[in-house]
Symmetry: C2
C-alpha cells in the first residue's frame, strides 16, 4: 500500500489541512462595483488588504462560517450569500496548508455604506474588469489613491466573483440583491450596467425585466426628484417556476 492509497483508509494517519472561508463582499458605489477589504496586521502580507475570512469550526457548516464572518468581520447582519469556489493550491498560504471556500456576498448601497461606517477598519475599493469577454482575466482593484494589491490569491477570488456575477446577472436574481427593497427600473439598469460594464438599451431592458415576471409595481413613486419620478418596484420571487 502506498502512502497515497493509505489516505483512502485512514484519514487520521495524515495531517489535515485547515479550512477557511473568504468573503467577497460586493456592492455598487457610484455606479461601479466595489469590494470591502480588511487590513492584515500580521505576516504574511502584513499591511496588505485581504478579503474578510475565518477558519471553519469543526461543528459549523460552511454556510454558517460564512455568515459568522459576515457578521463578525464586516458587521453585516444579513446579505445574499452564495458559495463561489474552493481554492486549494498547496502554497496559497505560505504558513501552512489552508483550503479556502470562497463566498460571494452581495450588499445594497445602504448596507455597503453602513458596513463602512460601522467598521472603520474596512476599505472599499472599486473593481474594474478589463473587457476580456468570456475568459476571466485579472481585475483591477483600486481606490482613488491608487491600486490596492491583495494578499494571498485574493485577487483571483475577486476576479472569479465578478465573472460569476456577470454570468448569473441575466438569468438569476442576484441583481436584486444589490438593490434596496424598493427600487426603480433605472436603478436596476444601473446595477446591471455597472456589473456588465456596458450600457444597455433602455426600452429593451424594461421589457425584458417586466416580462420576466419578477417585478411587482408598488404604485409608489420615488421622491426628491426635480423631474418626473419613476415608479418603485419590488422583487417578487417567481411563482409558477
Amino acid at each position: 500500500m502506498t502512502d497515497r492509497e493509505a489516505l483512502d483508509y485512514d484519514p487520521n494517519a495524515y495531517q489535515r489541512p485547515s479550512v477557511a472561508v473568504d468573503l467577497v463582499l460586493i456592492g455598487i458605489r457610484d455606479s461601479r462595483p466595489a469590494v470591502l477589504l480588511v487590513k492584515r496586521d500580521a505576516p504574511p502580507f502584513a499591511g496588505r488588504r485581504a478579503l474578510p475570512g475565518g477558519f471553519v469550526g469543526i461543528d459549523e457548516t460552511l454556510d454558517d462560517a460564512a455568515a459568522r464572518v459576515l457578521h463578525g468581520k464586516a458587521g453585516i447582519a444579513k446579505a445574499h450569500l452564495e458559495q463561489l469556489y474552493t481554492f486549494g493550491a498547496v502554497a496559497r498560504d505560505p504558513r501552512m496548508r489552508i483550503i479556502s471556500v470562497a463566498y460571494l456576498a452581495l450588499l445594497d448601497e445602504a448596507a455597503f455604506a453602513a458596513a463602512l461606517e460601522d467598521m472603520p477598519s474596512l476599505l472599499a475599493a472599486t473593481i474594474t474588469v478589463p473587457w476580456a469577454g468570456e475568459t476571466g482575466g485579472a481585475v483591477e482593484i483600486a481606490t482613488p489613491k491608487g491600486p490596492v494589491p491583495l494578499a494571498f490569491d485574493h485577487a483571483d477570488i475577486v476576479a472569479l466573483a465578478m465573472l460569476r456575477l456577470r454570468g448569473k446577472l441575466d438569468y438569476s436574481d442576484v441583481g436584486f440583491a444589490l438593490l434596496p427593497d424598493r427600487f426603480t427600473l433605472r436603478q436596476l439598469q444601473d446595477v446591471h450596467e455597472a456589473i456588465l460594464g456596458v450600457p444597455l438599451n433602455k426600452p429593451a431592458f424594461r421589457r425584458r425585466m417586466l416580462d420576466r415576471g419578477w417585478l411587482a409595481a408598488t404604485g409608489e413613486r420615488e421622491a426628491g426628484t426635480s423631474f418626473r419620478p419613476a415608479e418603485l418596484y419590488r422583487f417578487r420571487t417567481p411563482q409558477g417556476a
Copy 2:
C-alpha cells in the same frame, strides 16, 4: 475573546476537518446520462453505492486529488474535470467531520465503457432528472434492476452535477467532453438531448452549432451505416474570443 474569535487567530488550537474530493463521473449510455459508482465495503452505508472519492493530501491540490481518484478508483487516465461545489454539512458523514469538494468528470462513451470493463467493481446507473425546470430537485439514480440508493449526501451531489451540466451545456464546451474526438452532428445533438431531457429541432441545432465556430469539418464520413453517412466534425477551441 470568545471561542469563535479564537478560531481566527490560532487555527492549531482547534480540531481541523478532513477534506475529501468526490467525483461525479458522467457519460452517456443508450442516450441517457449515466454515472459510475463504487460499492462501499465498510460502515457507514456498507453495501451502498457511492461516488468515488478520497481524502486530499496535505501536499496536493484539490485538482490533483481529483485526478488521483479518477485514476486510482476509476482507472481513467484522462477526462474533463471541473470543480462543482463544496459540501460541508456537519453530519454529512456520521463518523467525523468531512468536507467534500465535489468534481464533475465527463467521459465519452468509449471511456465510460472502458472504465466499466477495467474496474469490475464499478456500477453504471442511469440518471433521470424529473423535469422540474430551473430549481434543482432530486434525481432518480437507477439500473434496470431498480433504484440505487446512494450513501451520504451523494444523491444531492449528482443532482447538482446534472443541474450544472444542463446550465453549461449551451454556452460552454462541456458537450464535447462527452463525445469522442470525431463525431457527427447527430451524435452531438443526441448528447444535448440526453442531458436536457428534451428533443431538439434538427435544423436549428445544426445552425446554432455551426455558427458558433466551434466545429471543424474533417471531410471524413462515418462508416458502417446502411444509409447516407454523416460528416465527422472535430471540436475546435474557439479562436478569437
